[in-house]
């Protein structure tokens, strides 16, 4: 089933297909054509060669042509890239370097004191050839590494292949109305799988992308939307809080045709409100579901169903298939049965990486992803997410592993237990001094805004007879007092 390459279009990094059509538009208004973008990508990648070996390149990303061309250069030359948050702190970057031994790092000049030799510059970015020599091989099909979590550090990465990236982009433009008349603007960072999928699909379609660092709380962002007559806009639940608060009726330019939402659950009444507002404006609204482990997207709710079924994440994307794993039984597609959601499709990642040696591994998942999400179907086959098996939550669209936070707090000398739900993290500690230490840590190291978390001093954490923390009971107690 995975060898469907014959019917797939050229991958999106074959930029030449779209000739002199504009690809990227900078804040300055400067447009870069697909031909020029291909040339910039190749100029970048010609500096990567180390005697014909496949290298790992760290790209410290911002939504700018310097980083997009570096990313595309890696794909075109079949070097592997790891995309990192542009605001990553030095210690987290150093940790990743120690684990993965990149051959090269693409970052802002002067931003980091990285051991190595600058070999190429473009804009205010530089390519540093690292001193350490890469000895461990990289699998030929490994195209891209993405972090599994947002700001919680950790060095677990998702391994994506060239086929994963090409297949997901092709599938998405099979259901979203993206063609070469479309223009979007970067709302989400490119190191984040949803943000990256917006970029990939627009490149595949030969559409335009306005690159900006501005956020929807800034006038500059909406000025760019108008100047370049954008036709679509995306967002995670937190972005939709902004859209709702400022009012989309006034903010959206008349050229917008559709909006998409993913990156965590948006409450059904919010979905309904937003869909109703957009429908009055003649704008389609796509609620979608996905994970980085599935490259980005796994499902979408057809926009004509959103008012009627606002709590559903819809149907699988073209080429994908869902089933529910219920207890010991084989996977089922029966309505009403809640179990772990299983996804099959060509966009399922190769596996994870925890060490440099893991980069040599091939496809461990073979097209099947155990999502860790609990879900069920209704009678029509529409999908509903009911909860999570894994201990993570989403804050501002970014995955936060609760066990990672506990571990990191432990390493900084704070004994804590973490629980929570999307958009709210609770940290239970035993002493007042731990409470202030935990708050400092979360604000400075995880960079979470105080409205996203609470640190609570508790006398006792509920445990079962074998001493295991009862997270659900703790969550209920803490959220009641919040």
């Amino acid at each position: 089933m995975r060898n469907t390459n014959a019917c797939m279009p050229l991958p999106y990094w074959q930029l030449e297909t779209h000739g002199n059509a504009p690809a990227l538009v900078a804040e300055s208004g400067l447009a870069v054509t697909y031909t020029e973008l291909a040339r910039l990508a190749d100029r970048f990648s010609q500096h990567l060669d180390r005697q014909g070996r496949k290298s790992l390149v760290f790209i410290v990303c911002e939504n700018a042509i310097e980083c997009l061309s570096a990313y595309l250069g890696c794909l075109r030359s079949r070097h592997a890239a790891l995309l990192l948050d542009g605001t990553i702190d030095r210690s987290a970057l150093a940790d990743l370097m120690e684990v993965y031994f990149p051959g090269f790092i693409w970052c802002r000049e002067g931003a980091e004191a990285i051991k190595g030799q600058p070999v190429y510059r473009y804009g205010d970015y530089q390519l540093i050839r690292c001193t350490a020599v890469e000895t461990e091989p990289i699998h030929p099909e490994l195209a891209l590494l993405l972090p599994t979590s947002g700001s919680t550090g950790g060095h677990k990465l998702v391994r994506l292949s060239y086929d994963n990236l090409a297949a997901n982009a092709a599938s998405i433009i099979g259901y979203l109305p993206i063609d070469d008349t479309e223009c979007t603007i970067t709302v989400l960072p490119m190191h984040y799988s949803y943000g990256l999928s917006v970029i990939n699909t627009h490149l595949l379609a030969g559409a335009r992308i306005v690159t900006t660092h501005a956020s929807p709380v800034e006038r500059r962002f909406w000025d760019l939307c108008r100047r370049d007559a954008i036709t679509s806009l995306v967002g995670v639940p937190y972005t939709y809080d902004i859209y709702r608060r400022i009012g989309l009726e006034r903010a959206l330019p008349p050229t917008v045709r559709y909006l998409t939402q993913a990156g965590g659950r948006l409450a059904p009444d919010r979905v309904k409100d937003c869909a109703a507002t957009l429908s009055r404006l003649g704008i389609r609204f796509y609620v979608m579901y996905g994970q980085t482990e599935a490259t980005a997207r796994m499902s979408y709710l057809p926009p004509d169903r959103v008012l009627e079924k606002p709590s559903s994440v819809g149907i699988p994307i073209p080429g994908g298939r869902f089933s529910i794993s219920a207890g010991d039984r084989a996977t089922v597609q029966t309505a009403g049965v809640v179990g772990e959601l299983v996804y099959d499709g060509p966009n399922v990642c190769l596996g994870y990486a925890d060490t440099r040696e893991d980069l040599a591994k091939g496809d461990e998942n073979r097209g099947r992803l155990l999502t860790g999400d609990l879900a069920c179907f209704d009678e029509e086959g529409l999908l509903y997410i009911k909860g999570r098996l894994k201990r993570f939550i989403k804050l501002a669209g970014q995955r936060v592993a609760l066990d990672d936070i506990e571990r990191m707090l432990g390493e900084s000398g704070v004994e804590a237990v973490c629980c929570g739900a999307d958009e709210r993290l609770y940290i239970a500690v035993r002493t007042n001094s731990d409470e202030s230490a935990a708050a400092r840590f979360v604000t400075s190291r995880l960079r979470l805004h105080p409205t996203m978390y609470s640190v609570v001093t508790v006398a006792d954490v509920p445990r079962n007879t074998s001493g295991k923390v009862q997270y659900q009971a703790l969550y209920e107690e803490l959220s009641r007092h919040a």
């Binding site: 709380v217 800034e218 006038r219 805004h449 996203m452």
Partner: protein, 83 residues
């Protein structure tokens, strides 16, 4: 203390809490995107806290234009809150 002074103190406290910055750092030139912690998440928390504290319902233009502490005072002044 005059009403203007107390409004300024109140707004400074709202900023200090929403941005997680000490109040002596909250000056008229404190700017979105430049000040540590003042990102889009903090901005929305700030808007919500100002609405709650001053009984306003800031509009789109107010939210998009509120790029500094000084600007926030100008915006609240439109709603009859004196500085």
């Amino acid at each position: 203390m005059t009403a203007a002074q107390s409004n300024e103190d109140l707004l400074r406290r709202v900023f200090s809490e929403a941005l997680g910055l000490p109040s002596e750092m909250i000056t008229d030139t404190l700017t979105y995107g430049e000040a540590d912690n003042w990102d889009s998440i903090a901005h929305m928390a700030l808007v919500a806290a100002m609405d709650a504290e001053f009984g306003t319902m800031l509009e789109m233009d107010d939210i998009l234009d509120m790029s500094s502490f000084g600007k926030a005072k100008e915006i609240l002044a439109k709603y009859g809150i004196g500085f």
